[in-house]
Amino acid sequence: MTHILAESFIVESIEKFLSNSGFMVFFEVEGYKFIIMVLIAFVLLYLAIKKQFEPLLLLPIAFGMLLTNLPGAEMFHSELFADGHVHWDIFVGTAGLIDYLYLGVKLGIYPCLIFVGVGAMTDFGPLIANPKSFLLGAAAQLGIFATFLGAFALGFAPNECASIGIIGGADGPTSIFLTSKLAPELLGPIAIAAYSYMALVPVIQPPIMNMLTTKKERMIKMSQLRQVSKAEKIIFPIVISVIISWILPDAAPLIGSLMLGNLMKECGVVDRLSKTVQNELMNIIVIFLGISVGATATAASFMNWRTIGILLLGIIAFSFGTAGGVLLAKLMNVFLPENKKINPLIGSAGVSAVPMAARVSQSVGQKENPSNFLLMHAMGPNVAGVVGSAVAAGILLAFMG
């Protein structure tokens, strides 16, 4: 009798263990989606580690994706953030580790803190020396608004169109900031599209640049930039913050954070703070942001046709942004005197992706003329693109918010 009882207890225990195991989810309806998501996470981990595609961000994003798709682990609960706001009433009782980390994304804290670090690492000198670069930075935002229309044509809601369009800004923190406000359910696919395409800038941009320019244009040598005084570099972030925030209060968190970081770097009296935001703070936030953004890529939100649409629209956004910058540079050359012509290749750097896009301008230019150094000239539109995409995000927030 006792022998039979012990046997049934063992069978019951094993059954209970198996039913609680994550493997059982794979046999449920649509359980295969978890397997596919885990495989996608593996591919992203491979790209980050082996191919080194933006590894600092792609690695935590991929691991966050892996964690959230482990059945039964219950580390992220999308229902706590449903309908665009945090359900505080059930938060403490239900939340897992990643839910707490995700609050920084949801409340718009991480993107702004990353912008403080980006500002502290950015030299706006080339932009101050050649303010015309702002025009190229503005033209490269064509990608945002063209994709905005493209997404609408594909049937996305207006707020989702704005979030998808911002991928064209080639600026990860801005994309995450805007999407967390307008379409949080698309955060996973949009962040992954933005960062993946940013890593692919050296592949996406050169064919478009070569197609839109002649050999003669690519060989244009630009005159040396003037020296920028320290006072100008200190006044620049203050003036930009005040004017842009007055015109577009919705862009103030991003622009303010970017310029605060830059002021810390340029003023020279808070070296410790500058170093901290460039290194320790930036690294900590990147870890939190990556894991929590990756965690939003659950099987339910990621495995659908909309994600494929977002990935396709993302590449269109990048291409239009690149083309916009190059074409405006060509147009500017029509009006500029012979000795002040600009090399249209620097126009493509107007999409943010600092400093990758500027490096692409340099390498494409050097292929035509090895003695041509475009890097510093391209840094102007490049950093103007960061300001431009933050302004575009502010405009879209004002329209949709």
Binding site: I128, F134, A146, F148, C161, A231, I243, G388, V391, I395
Partner: protein, 101 residues
């Protein structure tokens, strides 16, 4: 929607063109300051400048002619310090004892 996109794109341009003007004004102010600060208050002709420069050149070349042409080697006497002594950083080899028969 297309109007919204167009207006949005135009606003980006307007805001950044405004920034160009601000930066131009800022740049003009600072570059002008540099130029004005370099301007000398003394008004002298180019011939006078040339004469002063020649005099300075001659004076400086005179100084060079009076070199002693003596080479000196400075001897440094450094007291022994065990801190940088290499022998103290090496593990001594074991000493083999002679077998005593």
């Amino acid at each position: 929607m297309s109007m919204m996109a167009l207006v949005g794109f135009l606003i980006v341009f307007v805001v950044l063109i405004l920034m160009i003007f601000v930066m131009k004004v800022l740049g003009y102010t600072f570059t002008r300051k540099v130029k004005t600060s370099r301007k000398s208050s003394v008004d002298i002709s180019e011939e006078e400048v040339a004469a002063i420069l020649t005099a300075l050149k001659l004076y400086k070349s005179d100084i060079h002619d009076k070199e002693t042409e003596l080479l000196t080697i400075k001897r440094m006497s450094r007291a022994y310090s065990p801190w940088n002594s290499k022998i103290h950083g090496l593990t001594p080899l074991p000493e083999y004892r002679r077998r005593q028969w």
